[in-house]
């Protein structure tokens, strides 16, 4: 398959699964085979584009023209590939995990679960490869719709409430984003993502300021920037694999991805500095990081605590985008992969605790480290990584963010990063301490291999990415390439 048709194929392969899966409603084995095949094919397709992108190429994918000057268009650059690689490799792992989890919980509506999951992944890769704002928005809204069945999967009144809240937040934000995109389109027809932005000098500073606010409000809901984060903790009623992949990786990352695209590829860092919007964004991100940390401390439900941790971690990415130097952007982009692997390891562990130990709280995990060593080790690796302990993936991101902030002269932000790291320690370490250093009560065993294998792999990845950030998919190089292209493109009038 030639390079140009691969982006579309990568999007469509999971859509094909969406079409096929309902036909095998009563045959779980066929259903799971289809899911695995699609996930593996998707990862292979996405990964096959890596060498070309690493060589500095931007792959132009399929174009579906609409009226003159408008099209649905896919294009693979380093940043998009980084996100797509993270999402598709985690989909494969999550599929394995779902197998174990859904069977362990004897879940109903499994077909609709797998269908929605596959649709979500198509949308996520579409978001990653979108070449212009219209394509981005189409995939962004499809993601919203495809996620809804997963949020309400349990069909309980609580799940319904969470689903409603999710739709109100995301569809409302979608309309705001639509207005922003249409506005940008009317200022600069085509609205193709360009490293360094395409709006520079096209409109007055005041207009750009308002437009930027609309964009951030639109993407900020999925990126769970406070005060737009309310849906995320509520959505934790979803099954754990859903929370893991979607609420820690695909959906929230799609929001954060949107923020970085908008900062780096729509406005450009220099344009933002001219409007002063970068400082505003930094303040919001810093406030979100700190407030989320405090809120996480107050949550007793493990998944909700993880949700607040996610809210804080996402704002690292937003913060990196707002600072806008090469180092800060690299750190932010690397965090897509780093946070993805670490957070999913923790969610997988939380799911294993739910199915095997029947524990959903942050207390009562005494001695589980000895009974479920793999699970709790993966959890610990993820937690340490998020706290920014060196030699783990989170440290790379934090270090680069800190360096970037210092380069740009925002010393205060380093303080924010350090404080947040301390909070991470405060809200994760008691769990780890209980698990490893207290005596167990009752008999609990490790979960089955479909659950242990993915959590082991992701936990190991959290470690590997910290020691050798370029191992495997070259996440760090991709981040660096993308960050350099944004900064190099900045200030060049289109």
């Amino acid at each position: 398959m030639d390079l140009a048709s691969r982006p579309l194929a990568a999007v469509l392969v999971s859509l094909l699964a969406v079409v096929l899966l309902p036909l095998f409603d009563r045959r779980p084995t066929v259903r799971e085979t289809i899911t695995f095949t699609a996930a593996a094919l998707k990862l292979a397709l996405v990964a096959s584009m890596l060498p070309a992108v690493l060589a500095g190429q931007v792959i132009e994918g399929a174009t579906l023209p609409l009226v003159a000057g408008l099209s649905l268009h896919l294009r693979v650059d380093a940043f998009g590939l980084l996100f797509a690689l993270t999402a598709s490799s985690l989909w494969l792992l999550t599929s394995v995990y779902s197998l174990g989890y859904l069977r362990a919980t004897a879940s109903t509506h499994q077909t609709s679960y797998y269908v929605s999951f596959a649709a979500c992944l198509s949308a996520t890769v579409g978001i990653a490869f979108a070449a212009n704002l219209l394509t981005f928005f189409v995939c962004y809204e499809v993601l919203t719709l495809a996620t809804y069945p997963l949020v309400v999967h349990a069909r309980t009144p609580e799940a319904l409430g969470a689903g409603r809240r999710y739709l109100v937040y995301t569809l409302g934000a979608g309309q705001v984003l639509l207005v922003a995109i249409v506005w940008a389109q009317s200022i600069a027809p085509g609205a193709e993502f360009t490293p360094g932005g395409f709006l520079a000098g096209r409109a007055s500073t005041a207009t750009l300021g308002i437009l930027f606010a609309l964009f951030i409000a639109g993407c900020g809901v999925k990126a769970a920037i406070m005060p737009l984060h309310g849906w995320l903790p509520a959505a934790m009623v979803a099954p754990t694999p859903v929370s893991a992949l979607l609420h820690a990786v695909a959906v929230v990352k799609a929001g954060a991805f949107g923020v970085v695209r908008i900062v780096g590829y729509v406005f450009g860092v220099d344009t933002l500095r001219a409007t002063g919007a970068d400082i505003a964004l930094m303040l919001i991100a810093a406030a979100t990081i700190l407030v989320a940390s405090v809120r996480a401390l107050g949550e007793d439900n493990l998944k909700r605590r993880l949700a607040y941790s996610t809210i804080g971690q996402l704002s690292y990415i937003v913060l990196g985008a707002a600072v806008g130097s090469v180092a800060a952007l690299t750190g932010a982009m690397f965090h897509f992969a780093g946070h993805g692997f670490m957070k999913i390891a923790m969610f997988f562990s939380a799911g294993a605790l739910h199915t095997e130990a029947h524990r959903d709280g942050v207390r009562g995990l005494d001695g589980l480290g000895r009974q479920m060593p793999m699970t709790m080790t993966a959890f610990a690796l993820g937690a340490c990584g998020l706290a920014g302990v060196p030699l783990l993936a989170g440290f790379i991101a934090k270090w680069n963010l800190g360096v970037g902030a210092l380069e740009a002269g925002h010393v205060v932000l380093v303080g924010v990063l350090v404080t947040s790291g301390l909070f991470n320690v405060a809200y994760f370490f008691p769990i780890i301490y209980d698990a490893f250093f207290k005596a167990p009560s009752g008999q609990v065993r490790e979960a089955g291999w479909p659950m242990v294998f993915p959590l082991g792999v992701t936990g190991a990845a959290a470690l590997c990415l910290g020691v050798a950030p370029d191992l495997g998919f070259h996440f760090f190089t991709l981040a660096r390439l993308a960050a350099e292209s944004i900064v190099a493109g900045g200030g060049v009038p289109q």
Binding site: V67, V138, L160, Q175, V176
Partner: protein
């Protein structure tokens, strides 16, 4: 024969309408086959005419060889050609659906039903094809009278609602006729092209303003544009499903077409047309908000859909009012979107009522399990009505919004966004019940899926809603963009 296609498109359904009741008494199957054959002919012929018009430009057909302005002429341009294809497509879909429905409910009246149905289609195709203002009135009334009879077949409440519609509709068509009279008095002609030419020599006058006011109000009543929509919710609620599925989709759209034709072609560029469009812009914004708001308050699904139509007509009228190429593309694309999707929604809602006896929003609990494919089609159409990608409704809204932005029409932008939010609320309220809320009492109930004859059209319409959005480019560049008046593009 192909030289006479424009008139055959109108005449074949008319002749079939005369034949069908004779066949219907003994052999309803044959009668319905003739109906379908006539509609298929109309669809194929419309497609051929449209294809020729797109390549060769406007096709003027003179009835009986009388040259205009004395004779009546039919004028097919990409706009009317596109509308003909749309109307005959919807007619065919709803008529296919009608067979299974009537066979189960009222087999004795199939011939009668089909005859009226064909008359209705004749009227609508005639409105679109004609190039003569008075001929348009005649077809308007043919379609209306056939529609009154069909709508009243829904039962007692339908009869009362239809009587009200008849009164209001006649006021509307009388207004239109009176307005036509003013233009005849001013120019001495009723031929649209001739009228356009002669008006340039007449200049501004109060008579012209009165004439255009009467025409626009008359057609707005027919198109159920807010605040002239009073007749519509009751009629749509109580009519038989196959009728609502076609009438709600096609009739108001054809009236909207007539507004567009008069304001942009016959009177294109005149100051009075411009002020009429400004008026319609205000009306459109109000319609969007009021329609969506009222839909939110409904408990009966059909009434909810009816009020949603009031709002959606507002989208179309707003697009006309903005008048930039992109906004007009949006408005015409929305005509297509709303026609196809609303037809699908009404056909499913009617099917649900027929199969289960329920029509309240609350009763849709668990319907996703009992009628999975129909409700899937319903979901696609609902998403398109809200205007979410990747459905066709998103793209028409996108063009409308872009047009509103470029024209700095902020009230329009606000109305579009607010209405999307409101329609998301009232449609997801239904979808949530349909697919998500589970009711233990329903577990035992058996499948109630529609029979294939009804399900087929519903699925085709839903598929059209998905595919027309993504593969819209040929449609937009070859038909819709060419359908815009020369003064605009």
């Amino acid at each position: 024969m192909s030289a006479h296609l424009p008139i055959l498109i109108v005449v074949v359904p008319l002749v079939a309408a005369l034949v069908v009741p004779l066949l219907g008494r003994r052999t309803p199957g044959v009668a319905h086959a003739v109906t379908l054959a006539a509609l298929i002919f109309a669809l194929v012929a419309s497609g051929l005419v449209l294809a020729r018009v797109v390549v060769d430009g406007v096709w003027r057909y003179q009835l009986g060889g009388w040259a205009p302005p004395w004779g009546i002429e039919y004028v097919v341009d990409p706009l009317s050609g596109g509308m003909m294809v749309l109307v005959s497509f919807l007619a065919l879909a709803a008529s296919t659906y009608a067979w299974s429905y009537l066979l189960a409910t009222d087999p004795g009246r199939i011939g009668l039903f089909d005859s009226l149905y064909l008359l209705l289609v004749t009227g609508l195709l005639g409105i679109v094809a004609t190039g003569d203002l008075f001929n348009l009135y005649v077809f308007l009334e043919i379609s209306a009278i056939a529609a009154y009879a069909l709508l009243a077949m829904g039962g007692d409440r339908a009869t009362v609602a239809t009587f009200r519609y008849l009164l209001i509709g006649t006021v509307g068509s009388s207004c239109y006729l009176l307005g036509t009279g003013y233009f005849y008095a001013l120019t001495g002609t009723l031929n649209m092209a001739d009228l356009t030419e002669r008006l340039s020599g007449v200049g501004e006058s109060p008579a012209m303003a009165v004439g255009i006011g009467l025409i626009v109000v008359g057609l707005a009543i027919k198109a159920a544009v807010f605040p002239f929509h009073g007749w519509q919710p009751d009629v749509y609620t109580y009519a038989p499903p196959p009728v609502t599925g076609f009438v709600a989709a096609a009739m108001t759209k054809v009236s909207a077409y007539a507004i567009f034709r008069v304001l942009y072609f016959v009177l294109g560029g005149t100051p009075v047309a411009a002020s009429a469009l400004v008026f319609l812009g205000g009306v459109g914004v109000l319609a969007i908000l009021a329609g969506s708001w009222l839909a939110l308050a409904q408990t009966d699904i059909r009434r909810m859909l009816a009020y949603s139509s009031v709002g959606q007509m507002g989208y179309i009228v707003l697009g006309f009012s903005i008048g930039s190429p992109i906004a007009l593309v949006g408005a015409l694309f929305h005509v297509l979107n709303h026609a196809v999707m609303k037809s699908c929604l009404f056909l499913v809602a009617g099917g649900v009522r027929w199969r289960t006896g329920f029509s309240s929003v609350a009763s849709f609990v668990g319907m996703g399990r009992r009628m999975p494919l129909s409700m899937l089609a319903f979901a696609v159409a609902a998403v398109s009505m809200v205007g979410l990608p990747p459905t066709v409704g998103f793209f028409s809204k996108w063009y409308l919004l872009l047009g509103a932005f470029e024209a700095r029409a902020w009230p329009g932008v606000a109305a579009l966004v607010v209405s999307s939010g409101l329609s998301a609320v009232y449609f997801f309220r239904v979808l949530e019940r349909t697919f998500v809320v589970s009711d233990d009492r329903l577990v035992a109930t058996e499948s109630r899926e529609l029979p294939a004859g009804m399900l087929g059209p519903v699925l085709v319409l839903a598929a059209a809603g998905l595919l027309l959005g993504l593969f819209q480019q040929p449609l937009i560049t070859h038909v819709i963009q060419r359908a815009l008046p020369a003064t605009v593009s």
